[in-house]
């Protein structure tokens, strides 16, 4: 069963409704105008001119309305063609439907029009065929001949009687009786109707009535008739009455003496019975009507063809309009669906199709809207999940960033996917330079050899895990790291890549070594210091007691004992240093200004070494630090002493910089020189006791520096200066901010 389509499109609903209303109103107005015209044309009453104007107005209105209807339909068709050219969705289907409707209506309507026109033309021609017309004309001619012959007969007999009257001079008054006898005889013998004789001289008329209709009077002699007769003309008249027609023949009577003188009139009349007159009238009317119709043959044909043409046009236009309407009802929802799909694809999940329909398209639209709703919900869930994942990712990143161990991960293809901050710092790499690159491209050959070694070991073990202490030589330092490499697997045991964790053992080793060295120093000091005093005292005693007794060998003796005493002294100093190193004073931390603390030490060195250029750059925003000023001064003396030793005496330049890094909340103290620098291999051992590049150094300066800075919870490091030299950098934590 076909359901009626009822669409409500918010966008174009009003417009389309208005168009529909206009078309329907126009249609009804045309029908109304036609009815009105028909009514007025059928009216039997004579219409005044104003009514004619009204009718013409109606016809014009009708034409205007038809033109308007054509305009509306043509407009729709043109719009359709335009839309098709622009490639608007649905226009092709709409064109097909409209074309189908037009063709389906045009072919039968045109055929019907042609057939009807031919049929009508043929029928009308048949109505006016020659046989009917000829028969009617002949019948009319018979009637005409009958009347004509009757009139001729009347004139003929009137002429004979007139001749008899003239010949026998019956117009004379004394022959009145003979005249009456003659006309009565002639009426009887010729079978005439009314017979009347009129003499101009007598002013009286002799009348012999019709024997069959005695009540009928002869035709009155009008002045025109008398005028005609008295000029010598034979004439005839037809007089109609309720009893029928009276056909009279009038002939002049001439004088015997003067044959050209008209002295009277003979009137012979025949009565045509009413029945015959009526029959002839019917023939006449029919003939007249036929002739009138024949006259209207072409206009009738033309009018019917026009009506047929208008009806055909109306059928075609109605079909076109219906095609447009039906096509719109199908394509508009499709267009809306396509538009909605486009919008949803662009991300507008709030878009809904606003069409209400009670058919399959309605179901489709409902399903589409439901799908959009579901999509919106799932999208919302997806967004939430993404947000959760993003939050987790950020959290993981934060954790990774703040983990002290360096972490580097690579995916299954060997591309580096993660480098955390600790790894950056520890290995001295920049994430943006290595991220998303293959590790083989990012690593140097030496490091690649280490990685290959690790991977080989992992392959040997076969458990996807390897842990190893590695000494890495970086650009400006050497570090000891505990490297753990693990294969990452998902829940399904699929390999996702590998993660390498680096733990910097350098500092730990330093501390352990320092502690060991202190222990060694303490024991050595303890073991060596005790015998030194007796050795020195014994040497002094030998000198005092036997110095003067040695005679010639006294100088040698003195020299030897003095050497022993001096060397013991040297040994004591050495032991004191060891002792001092082993028993570092307790650090008393208190809030102090770093710049102020180091300023005196720098000034002291500036005075002592005029040939070296000292440059102190004090940071401005360094908060007070928890530090022991005496210890820090000792650090500065050690560092500056090393720096002065390193630089060239001619253009030596030492720069002391202080600064504060707010993000890590650490104060920085750097001592940079432009000396020859330190080879990378020494950097690891620089802060260990007994490591010195100076001939006279004890090798404990930087070990003490390291120890003091460790007591301050700080960190000391060494790196190369540019273009040459060394930078010793100290980081001190800031706790009071």
């Amino acid at each position: 069963m076909m359901k009626s389509h009822h669409y409500i499109d918010i966008g174009e609903a009003k417009k389309r409704r208005r168009e529909r209303i206009i078309i329907v109103v126009i249609f009804f107005m045309i029908v109304l105008a036609i009815l009105l015209e028909s009514y007025f044309f059928r009216g039997e009453d004579l219409l005044p001119t104003s009514t004619n104007v009204f009718i013409f107005g109606l016809i014009n209105v009708n034409i205007i309305l038809i033109i308007l209807l054509i305009f509306l339909i043509v407009r729709n068709v043109v719009k359709l063609i335009y839309e098709r050219r622009r490639g608007i969705l649905g226009s092709k289907l709409r064109t097909k439907l409209v074309a189908a409707f037009v063709i389906l209506s045009l072919i039968p309507a045109a055929l019907l029009f042609l057939l009807a026109t031919n049929f009508l033309s043929h029928s009308i021609d048949n109505w006016f065929n020659l046989k009917i017309g000829s028969a009617l004309n002949k019948t009319l001619e018979i009637a005409q001949v009958y009347y004509q012959q009757t009139a001729e007969h009347a004139k003929h007999y009137a002429g004979q009687i007139s001749s008899d009257i003239t010949k026998n001079r019956l117009y004379e008054l004394e022959k009145k009786g003979y005249l009456r006898t003659l006309i009565e005889q002639r009426q009887e013998s010729y079978g005439l109707g009314i017979l009347a004789v009129y003499f101009d001289s007598r002013r009286e008329t002799l009348v012999v009535s019709d024997r069959d209709s005695p009540g009928i009077n002869p035709v009155p002699l009008t002045p025109k008739i008398l005028e005609d007769v008295f000029v010598g003309k034979e004439t005839s008249t037809i007089q109609s009455s309720d009893d029928g027609d009276l056909i009279s023949g009038l002939t002049p009577i001439y004088s015997y003496i003067s044959p050209k003188e008209v002295i009277g009139v003979v009137v012979v009349s025949y009565r045509i019975p009413k029945e015959l007159v009526d029959n002839i009238a019917v023939i006449s009317k029919t003939s007249e009507r036929y002739r009138q119709l024949h006259l209207l043959k072409n206009p009738v044909k033309f009018s019917y063809i026009i009506i047929l043409f208008i009806v055909t046009l109306l059928i075609i236009f109605s079909a076109t309009w219906f095609g447009v309407f039906l096509a719109k009802s199908i394509t508009v929802p499709i267009q809306d669906l396509a538009e909605a799909t486009r919008k949803i694809a662009q991300g507008d999940l709030d878009h809904r199709i606003n069409i209400k329909a009670d058919d399959e398209i309605g179901v489709l639209v409902g399903s589409f809207n439901q799908m959009t709703e579901d999509l919106k919900k799932s999208n919302k869930g997806l967004k939430q999940a993404n947000m959760d994942i993003e939050e987790r990712r950020k959290y993981m990143e934060t954790v990774l960033r703040n983990v002290s161990a360096g972490i580097i991960s690579v995916d299954k293809g060997g591309v580096i996917t993660t480098v955390n901050r600790a790894a950056e710092k520890m290995l001295g790499i920049k994430t943006e330079k290595v991220l998303h690159r293959h590790y083989k491209d990012a690593l140097s050959p030496e490091h690649m050899a280490i990685v290959n070694e690790l991977l080989k070991e992992m392959g040997r073990k076969g458990d996807g895990f390897v842990e190893k202490q590695i000494e890495l030589v970086l650009k400006d330092r050497r570090i000891m790291v505990l490297t753990t490499v693990s294969v990452i697997k998902d829940d399904d045991k699929n390999e996702l890549g590998m993660v390498a964790v680096f733990e910097d053992l350098t500092q730990l080793q330093k501390v352990e070594r320092a502690a060991a060295w202190r222990e060694v120093a303490r024991r050595i000091a303890h073991e060596i210091k005790n015998p030194l005093t007796p050795v020195q005292l014994s040497a002094q005693r030998l000198q005092k007691k036997y110095g003067e007794k040695m005679g010639d060998d006294a100088p040698v003796f003195y020299e030897c004992t003095k050497t022993i005493i001096d060397q013991v002294e040297v040994l004591r100093k050495l032991v004191n240093e060891f002792s001092h190193y082993a028993r570092m004073p307790v650090t008393n931390l208190s809030p102090n200004d770093l710049n102020e603390t180091i300023r005196d030490s720098v000034a002291l060195f500036q005075d002592a070494h005029k040939d070296v250029h000292f440059d102190l750059n004090e940071g401005t925003d360094i908060p007070e630090l928890n530090l022991d000023p005496e210890q820090i001064k000792r650090v500065m003396i050690n560092l500056l002493d090393n720096a002065v030793f390193a630089v060239d005496k001619k253009d030596g330049r030492i720069e002391i910089r202080t600064s504060y890094d707010k993000t890590i909340r650490k104060a920085m103290l750097e001592v940079a020189d432009n000396g020859p620098g330190i080879p990378a291999g020494y950097k690891m051992k620089m802060f260990e006791p007994y490591f010195s590049t100076k001939r006279t150094g004890t090798g404990l300066g930087l070990a003490i520096v390291n120890s003091i800075i460790s007591d301050h919870d700080g960190h000391v490091s060494v790196r190369d200066n540019t273009p040459s030299g060394t930078i010793i950098a100290i980081e001190l934590p800031v706790t009071h901010v």
Partner: protein, 189 residues
């Protein structure tokens, strides 16, 4: 250049055709002619004739028995300067012709207050009777004032011909209507 010349010739030909057409249709247009105004026996009498009032179609229709009526409107006005013209007399005269195909005569009737009829054997006489206004009394001279200006306006029109099958509209070309013919005069007698 040639194109311009051709265009000019075509334009002139069109103009000439238009003028000739107008002239032709004007010649063919029905109008009041042979107008004569006179006083006779204390009456104002009018004589006039309608020319070009019979077309071939009309003649065919009359011979086919279609009754045809001409209506003459004759108005007599007194001319006034500062006021609407005063109507003195208004006449509506109908001339009707009907052909009797049996008797082969034309029955002519004229209605001007009272009906007068006549029969004609020939069509030309009948047409003349239809087209002529012959001594129509418009008004008595008693209704006129001396030295006043009057005018008579005459117009003729053909009444709607009623045809079978309601075909009146399609052959409405039979209709005619003349312009008002106006004749001014000053009454001095």
């Amino acid at each position: 250049m040639l194109k311009k010349t051709i265009l000019s010739i075509v334009f002139l030909a069109c103009c000439l055709l238009l003028v000739l057409s107008c002239w032709y249709f004007q010649q063919r247009e029905a109008k009041i002619a042979d107008f004569m105004l006179t006083s006779s026996a204390g009456n104002i009498v009018v004589y006039a004739r309608v020319t070009n009032c019979f077309t071939k179609d009309m003649e065919s229709a009359i011979l086919a028995g279609v009754p045809t009526t001409f209506t003459f409107l004759v108005n007599l006005y007194q001319k006034r300067i500062h006021w609407l013209d005063k109507n003195i007399s208004r006449l509506v005269i109908s001339h009707t012709i009907k052909y009797d195909s049996v008797k082969k005569n034309f029955n002519f009737s004229s209605i001007n207050g009272q009906e007068k009829s006549a029969e004609f054997q020939d069509f030309d006489s009948a047409k003349r009777a239809m087209a002529d206004l012959n001594g129509v009394i418009v008004s008595s001279t008693k209704n006129l004032k001396k030295n006043k200006t009057y005018y008579i306006s005459v117009k003729a029109e053909m009444d709607k011909v009623h045809l079978p099958l309601h075909m009146d509209f399609f052959i409405s070309l039979w209709d005619f209507e003349t312009n008002w013919y106006r004749q001014e005069f000053v009454y001095r007698l």
